[in-house]
């Protein structure tokens, strides 16, 4: 019997995705019209292309049998390390400090793709040791997660490093690592952060570059000094707050159009939405994100196997972490870390990596439904 064709994607997840992409394009359109003289559509056009390519990539990934990826965990992990090392090597040769590789069409940022690769590989390693979730496993996974984290931090890309840590912890959590391990790890990170931010500078040891420390701490004390990190945060707050309930409209969004708001196409795009469309616009974006996270958690629960559940959990928590850190920084409750808002911020690597992750979510979802059908159960949402 020929199988009838139907969309193998989760419609609600797709709706959230398309909504966010549309929001991104609208915000970019108003924010970047004057950024590059003579090319008002520069960013919108590129983001549109990234989104188009991303959607195709997402569909392709959703058709993939994600369970096969588990067998590829070693090559995937190897690819992850190779890509990051390649960036470091290129940076070393050109004596520059940068986190991307120049490709003909865009600058490829391996650390973004690395977020997906890390989840795929670590989930595979975890499934192997699922029977014995002892101290040994926890330690092993942490080490496997921390190696690329350290490498990425050396690029330096503090934001991605934090995402890697968050993803690794999320996988451990979903896989069922004992609470006390998680508690110990949390304590360990608290100590590490204190050391890096407080103790090391006092002892004169430079673990983070001074500007990174500034960025991490400036949200505690905004300053009026332009060029200063606190100033950026303050300007973001002004943009955000001045939007009031329904926004100032594209014409009057002066924080954005007169460049007071820094990085308004990447890190601070949420503040653009806030200034231009106000609380209403922000609430809409937040709802779309909430929908996205809810669907991710739902897919986690319906996954046909543990590997699928781990993939879904890792990807969902990673997205949650990124969007909270980014939006938190836009509304002044989190430090400036250079973490972008998934699907909203401008950036090819980030867009494509996010679409790839979403494709895997769709794949987990589709296979769960297929399995359910095979076992004679009714489809979930048809």
């Amino acid at each position: 019997m020929p199988r009838e064709w139907r969309l193998r994607l989760d419609p609600l997840l797709l709706l959230a995705t398309l909504g966010l992409v549309a929001g991104s394009l609208i915000a970019l359109n108003s924010a970047t019209a004057n950024d590059i003289p003579g090319q008002p559509d520069y960013y919108v056009l590129r983001q549109g292309i990234y989104a188009g390519v991303g959607l195709v990539l997402m569909y392709g990934a959703s058709r993939l049998d994600y369970s096969r990826l588990r067998e590829l965990r070693y090559p995937v992990y190897g690819l992850l390390l190779a890509l990051i090392l390649m960036v470091l090597a290129v940076a070393g040769v050109t004596r520059g400090s940068r986190s991307w590789i120049e490709l003909p069409f865009f600058n490829f940022q391996p650390s973004e793709l690395g977020k997906v690769l890390l989840i795929v590989a670590l989930a595979g390693f975890l499934v192997d040791r699922m029977r014995r979730m002892g101290r040994d496993t926890t330690a092993r996974i942490m080490v496997l997660g921390l190696v690329p984290t350290m490498l990425v931090m050396a690029e330096p890309d503090l934001g991605s490093a934090m995402v890697y840590v968050a993803g690794t912890l999320a996988l451990l959590f979903v896989a069922g690592a004992p609470w006390r391990h998680l508690a110990a790890l949390s304590a360990l990170f608290a100590v590490a952060v204190t050391l890096v931010l407080v103790a090391a500078p006092m002892a004169g040891v430079e673990v983070l570059k001074p500007y990174q420390v500034d960025r991490l701490t400036s949200f505690l004390a905004p300053s009026a000094d332009p060029g200063d990190e606190g100033y950026q945060q303050h300007q973001a707050l002004i943009a955000m707050g001045s939007g009031e309930k329904t926004g100032r409209g594209v014409e009057n969004a002066t924080q954005t159009s007169l460049n007071f708001l820094p990085e308004h196409h990447t890190d601070f795009i949420f503040a653009v939405v806030g200034e231009t469309y106000g609380f209403a616009g922000c609430a809409l974006i937040l709802s779309l994100y909430a929908l996205l996270i809810w669907r991710g958690l739902h897919i986690l629960t319906v996954a046909k196997n543990l590997y699928g559940a781990l993939l879904a959990g890792g990807i969902t928590v990673m997205l949650l972490f990124q969007l909270f850190v980014n939006i938190g920084m836009n509304v002044g409750i989190m430090p400036i870390t250079g973490v972008t808002a998934p699907l909203l911020s401008f950036g090819g690597s980030s867009m494509l990596a996010t679409f790839l992750a979403l494709g895997l979510l769709h794949s987990v979802h589709a296979q769960a439904r297929e399995t359910a059908e095979l076992k004679g159960r009714a489809p979930i949402f048809q």
Partner: protein
């Protein structure tokens, strides 16, 4: 929504279910945090942020208002405003090394000025020593005097240090800028240092009247000239150059201290205000109202002209009409110049003049010779040039002697002595005093000039011939009655500030017993404390010059306008006006009325009398008779000067010759013409001018010739040689 299908999915472990629930809980909390934060930011405190966003982008840019013109009593423009492009450097853009240099320069310059003042003080004491030796100066003293006078004349020049070698950026900027505006880089640096030393927070003007192409060049390449401002500014222009230059004052940027002051309330930083002179006194009227435009500024601080904002046009300051008569001012300046030239063999360099309407105190001409081209101060002026203009060699052109120089006035003081003696009952208009040519005071014998003796004199006659003996006698008699002479002098307006409406006036000094005795007490105390012998040069240097208590001789000296008397020409004019107009003490003033741009009256400047003095009209008549005789009678001291003067019937005038040891005598003349419609009081003085009739009286006549439009510009030197 509950979905029955859910139940039939493969069961997940309870542990996983719990952990998913935890994740969902965390997600929920995070979203809630962000949501409420957004609510707080955008709904609860949105208005605050809206105003912050507005402050961010809108800047008020001041549009300077041109100052009002200043015109003379006939409407001739004396001071006007023109537009010029200026190039300035903002102090904020300068590297620290340059600011430090400016600081050091300021200190060095004030130290040099201190040295100069000390040298001047030492010179004065040395000259006094020489005078007291009565045998002329010794060789050593002459050498010392030469050295000291050189030091006292001008402060040791302080050179501006070179730009530090490390400031290559700044050096390159000066070179680039210098090439465009045609000023040497070294000069730019000097102007910067001098400008910062003078006014640390104001932009330093490097050049005014910048050619159009240079102006545009810099304006279009701002990034090549960091810290350089090119602007259109209003500059003051003085079409009559040196005429009245000492009266107008200058304009400059308001200082941070002045911004705090009450009289400058509402004035924005960067506004040019009047400094000194009429510009300062009438700043309120002349200043005008600045306009502004609101411009949109982007984050980089550059203007975004795509959007137009509100604009208020600047309003020019009001026009100020002075009581001054430009033609008379010119004539007076020329007259004093000719007087100075006539006395050039004495080394005369300088003089002063006052012409005033005695009825109301309107100043018709006022000034000091030599003068300077006021336009020099509308441009950046170098310290060197400024020093030159203050130097003794050039006659200190910046110094307005008419109001700020105090001198003994010689015999021109006699009418005041006469008034005091008459009113205090020391004499009557018909009392006779015999002038036998000698006046004994203790062990000293005083004589008339040229050892003359005039026999029996009544007051009018004594004034006419200017008998010293007669007035010595009055001074001696009044000394017994307390400070009556002093009180009368002050009452009539001499020896105290006249209250003229420009700053910088000096009060002068009418010596009395109180002043001298108190000063002497302090002198003794000081000498004791400093352990120096009383009466020596060391004591003079340490404790000042009041080396003896008051004696009758002091009053005798004062009676003929000598000794410690210090009065300005303007005070003397006020005193004569008071006697002439019957006791009304006028307040001399230059401001007449405030007008709008078309010359329509906006506000009359009212200058009420200072006070009234009561005296017997008969006493006034006696004095006036004496003064009329002095100017016209055959034996009058200035009659030959005014022999053919058309208004000699209503002319009253007194010569004066002030002894100013060790310098040559100073020539004085004070007169009044009782014209029914154009009465005038004129006071002239010429330092080192000799006898009153020689230079000051002819100069006064030239001024009167102009005032009464008599086509006569002969300098008629008189021959009388009395005090």
């Amino acid at each position: 929504m509950p979905n029955p299908v859910e139940e039939r999915r493969p069961p997940i472990t309870p542990q996983l279910a719990m952990r998913v629930a935890v994740l969902g809980g965390i997600a929920f909390v995070l979203f809630a945090i962000v949501f409420f934060r957004l609510w707080f930011l955008q709904v609860l405190s949105g208005e605050d942020y809206v105003s912050q966003a507005r402050d961010n982008r809108v800047r008020k840019v001041r549009i300077e208002a041109p100052r009002g013109d200043i015109v003379d009593r006939h409407g001739t423009v004396l001071v006007k405003t023109r537009v010029a492009a200026v190039v300035q450097i903002a102090p904020g853009s300068l590297p620290d090394a340059v600011l430090d240099q400016a600081d050091a320069f300021r200190k060095a310059r004030s130290a040099a000025e201190q040295d100069r003042l000390q040298a001047a003080a030492r010179l004065r004491s040395l000259e006094r020593d020489i005078r007291e030796r009565r045998r002329g100066a010794s060789r050593k003293q002459r050498r010392e005097r030469r050295a000291l006078s050189r030091e006292a004349r001008r402060a040791a020049p302080v050179t501006v240090p070179r730009l530090p070698a490390s400031e290559t950026e700044q050096r390159r900027l000066y070179r680039r800028l210098g090439k465009v505006i045609d000023v040497r880089p070294r000069v730019i640096h000097e102007r910067v240092i001098e400008g910062i030393a003078e006014l640390p927070y104001s932009n330093v003007t490097i050049r005014t009247a910048v050619p159009r192409d240079a102006f545009n060049y810099i304006r279009e390449r701002k990034e090549q000239f960091p810290g350089v401002d090119v602007e259109k500014r209003y500059l003051r222009e003085y079409p009559h150059e040196e005429l009245g230059a000492q009266l107008f004052g200058t304009t400059r940027e308001i200082s941070p201290e002045e911004l705090e002051m009450k009289r400058y309330r509402g004035v924005a930083a960067g506004t040019r205000i009047g400094a000194d002179g009429i510009e300062e006194s009438y700043d309120d009227y002349l200043r005008g109202t600045d306009g502004f435009t609101r411009v949109i500024i982007n984050a980089l601080g550059s203007r975004d002209d795509r959007r137009r904002m509100a604009r208020r046009e600047p309003r020019q300051g009001q026009r100020l009409r002075l009581t001054l008569d430009l033609k008379l001012q010119r004539a007076a300046n020329d007259a004093i110049r000719r007087g100075v030239e006539a006395a050039s063999q004495n080394g005369a360099k300088a003089g002063a003049f006052v012409a005033m309407d005695p009825r109301n105190g309107e100043i018709l001409a006022l000034g000091s010779y030599p003068s300077f081209d006021a336009n020099e101060f509308a441009r950046p002026i170098s310290q060197k040039r400024y020093d030159e203009l203050s130097s003794e060699e050039l006659g200190a052109p910046l110094f307005n002697r008419a109001i700020a120089a105090t001198y003994p006035t010689g015999s021109t003081f006699k009418p005041i002595t006469a008034m005091a003696a008459l009113e205090e009952g020391v004499i009557t208009p018909t009392s006779t005093i015999v002038d036998d040519g000698e006046f004994e005071l203790g062990d000293r014998v005083l004589k008339n000039a040229k050892d003359a003796s005039y026999g029996a004199l009544q007051l009018p006659g004594a004034l006419t011939v200017s008998s010293d003996i007669f007035f010595y006698e009055l001074g001696l008699q009044m000394n017994g009655q307390g400070p009556v002479l002093q009180d009368w002098a002050r009452r009539l307006g001499v020896g105290r500030r006249t209250g003229i409406d420009i700053p910088g006036e000096f009060g002068g000094l009418i010596p009395d017993a109180d002043w001298r005795n108190k000063g002497y007490e302090e002198y003794l105390k000081c000498a004791k404390k400093a352990k120096v012998e009383v009466g020596t040069t060391a004591a003079l240097f340490a404790c000042g010059g009041i080396e003896r208590p008051w004696t009758a001789g002091d009053n005798v000296n004062l009676a003929v306008g000598q000794g410690d008397l210090q009065a300005t020409p303007l005070q003397l004019a006020t005193g004569y006006a008071t006697i002439a107009n019957g006791g009304r003490v006028v307040r001399p003033h230059l401001g007449q009325q405030v007008e709008d741009g078309q010359g329509r009256l906006v506000e009359e400047i009212r200058t009420p009398l200072r006070r009234r003095v009561q005296f017997d009209p008969a006493h006034r008549d006696a004095i006036m008779t004496g003064l009329h005789g002095a100017a016209t009678a055959a034996n009058g001291t200035s009659s030959d000067v005014f022999a053919d003067f058309r208004y000699r019937d209503v002319l009253y005038g007194k010569t004066g010759t002030a002894e100013r040891q060790p310098n040559p005598d100073q020539s004085w003349y004070a007169c009044y013409v009782d014209h029914p419609t154009r009465p005038i009081v004129v006071v002239t003085t010429i330092e080192r001018g000799g006898f009153g009739a020689e230079t000051a009286a002819p100069a006064a006549r030239l001024i009167l010739n102009e005032w009464f439009d008599l086509q006569d510009d002969e300098f008629k030197a008189g021959s009388d040689q009395s005090n």
